[in-house]
């Protein structure tokens, strides 16, 4: 059996997801997440020794496109995207100061 999910782990995940949780919420979500994980653990009951690990259920690979631009779409998209933004300056998205590391 894997280690039980603790509120500490949930707090860390919330922090990484930039979510602020109250103590009550932390308890609630720990219980809910634990239930989801437990459900996923059902798979461990299956014998998968003969099944190769995969990232996908699809029998697909090498899905690629040719290197052709579609400039016509872009002007429209740019205008629409900027129009949706809460704040714009000089054709750019204006955002609050980003503190911390640029990855």
């Amino acid at each position: 059996m894997p280690e039980p999910l603790t509120p500490d782990v949930v707090a860390k995940v919330a922090d990484l997801a930039m979510l602020e949780l109250s103590d009550d919420e932390l308890q609630t979500f720990t219980a809910q997440l634990a239930a989801v994980l437990e459900h996923a653990h059902d798979v461990e009951e299956l014998d998968v020794d003969d099944v190769a690990p995969t990232h996908h259920p699809y029998p697909l690979q090498n899905v690629m496109r040719t290197d052709d631009p579609h400039p016509a779409v872009d002007a429209e998209v740019a205008a629409a995207a900027l129009a949706m933004a809460p704040s714009v300056e000089d054709g750019q998205f204006r955002v609050p100061p980003a503190l911390g590391e640029e990855p």
Partner: protein, 479 residues
């Protein structure tokens, strides 16, 4: 095989540097990595965008086949194994990436386990060269323009999604000069295979340096710092040297560096700590469910390999085979003048003179467009004595500027070969005017050679060939 000479350590005795480099190269495609938006530097902000690179809901990425092909070219040029690969999401929150993750490759990169040979002959192992997408560009608007006291940021997504190849070396590099040589060599390879324009100044090439130090002779890997924002060959060298000294100073004082990201401050000539939060390093990579694996067929890889142009290393060897040596060979290939030299030599030009011109007199814009037949003609005019080396240099500069034939240019400049007989007559006159000095020269006062040469030059208005004068003086002395 001889053991290549390594860079001497510019550190206090007993310490050596351990350096690994991550080089990000923007690939020279028409469109982005996963969307059909144009990949083009210098457009007005947010005009090269598409719903996919803006991270709009309901959009799906599709891999650009050309980006894969260019990445494979680099992989092959770096002697990597090209293999089945998977895209992964690198999760982080930063406004330069609107979907809050960057698509990269993690445990299964396209290219793995290669090496790059430096001009010195030393081989740096390449751990991997994986595909990913570039981020958007944030401009920090604030009191000083620095990241920490920005009032706000402006984001341009033209760069978001541009195909990148991240080439990761093993910590095999031992000094700033070796690091610069590695990056310069990688840059020439990227340009040679057509994978990237390799321009630092446009951000097509960006380098992060992982630096640590250790007692000489030890094999341990100590705590490293990752230095970002080193965006010229010169700053790479300076940043590494600064950081290594900082580590040695800390150890010497009984302290130790902490693992962190640091920024290179070009003006201040120092690295500064970024805000180091441990959990910020947790990117929670996982396979991107929107993309299926890429498994290049052996036929495709062979086709790409067969079409690879000569690499800088092979091009340097070709010049060495012509008798070229050392720095002259390296710079000639760097300036892409090697084809010019080889063609001129094939047309009968003297290899040594051609190489000297390429290395010393052609560090100018447009030199690589010189016509090889005309270049060969110039070299031959010089070696046959029609032009002195100074005149040849001058004619060469005019050739680069005008593209015209050296014979025409030499005639216009009034460069006509001095007849040896005429020179001899002049020399006899000079000797007759200075019998004492000539006697002393004949008896072995070698420094007088300069005086006599100068007199002849003066008499000919600088048109005489220094080599011919030297021969003439030697012959006269014996007589």
């Amino acid at each position: 095989m001889t053991i290549p000479e390594r860079e001497p350590q510019n550190l206090p005795d007993g310490w050596e540097m351990v350096i690994g480099l991550e080089v990000h190269a923007e690939l020279a495609t028409h469109t982005k990595m996963f969307s059909p938006a144009p990949n083009h530097f210098g457009a007005a902000p947010n005009t090269n965008v598409h719903p996919v690179c803006l991270g709009l809901p309901g959009t799906l990425p599709v891999v650009n086949a050309k980006a894969v092909e260019l990445s494979i070219r680099v992989g092959l040029a770096l002697n990597c194994t090209v293999q089945r690969c998977v895209f992964a999401r690198k999760n982080y929150f930063y406004p330069d990436m609107p979907k809050d993750y960057q698509i990269s490759q993690y445990d299964q990169p396209l290219n793995a386990d290669g090496w790059l040979e430096l001009p010195s002959g030393y081989r740096v192992c390449v751990e991997r060269a994986h595909m990913e997408e570039d981020t958007g560009k944030s401009t920090h608007v604030g009191v000083s323009g620095r990241i920490h006291d920005a009032g706000y940021s402006l984001v341009d997504y033209n760069r978001a999604g541009v195909p990148l190849l991240e080439i990761v070396s093993r910590p095999d590099i031992r000094g700033p000069e070796e690091a610069k040589a590695y990056v310069a060599e990688l840059q020439s390879i990227l340009i040679a295979v057509g994978a990237s324009d390799g321009k630092f100044e446009e951000g097509s090439l960006r380098v992060d340096a992982n630096v640590s130090v250790r007692p000489t002779g030890s094999t341990e890997l100590r705590t490293r710092c990752e230095i970002k924002n080193v965006n010229s060959l010169r700053s790479i060298g300076r940043a590494i040297q600064y950081e290594a000294i900082r580590h040695v100073d800390l150890y010497t004082a009984g302290e130790a560096p902490i693992q962190e990201t640091r920024h290179w401050d070009e003006e201040g000539g120092r690295t500064r700590p970024g805000r180091s939060k441990e959990e910020a390093e947790d990117y929670r990579y996982f396979a991107d469910p929107d993309l299926v694996p890429i498994d290049p067929s052996p036929e495709w890889i062979d086709e790409i390999r067969a079409a690879l142009p000569a690499l800088p290393r092979e091009r340097r060897q070709a010049l060495v085979d012509l008798g070229g040596r050392g720095e002259a060979v390296t710079v000639t290939v760097e300036r892409r003048l090697d084809t010019l030299v080889r063609e001129a030599v094939a047309l009968g030009a003297d290899a040594e003179r051609a190489l000297i011109h390429a290395a010393n007199n052609l560090a100018v814009e447009g030199a690589d467009r010189l016509d090889s037949a005309r270049f060969a003609a110039l070299v031959t005019m010089e070696t046959s004595g029609q032009l002195t080396s100074t005149q040849a240099k001058q004619v060469l500069a005019s050739m680069v500027a005008t593209g015209r034939h050296p014979a025409e240019l030499a005639a216009e400049a009034g460069f006509e070969a001095m007849d040896t007989g005429e020179l001899e007559g002049l020399l006899d006159g000079i000797i007759a005017a200075r019998p004492d000095e000539w006697q002393r020269f004949v008896e072995g006062e070698a420094k007088l050679q300069g005086m006599f040469t100068g007199q002849i030059m003066k008499a000919t208005g600088g048109k005489a060939d220094g080599k011919v004068i030297a021969q003439l003086l030697a012959a006269k002395k014996q007589a």
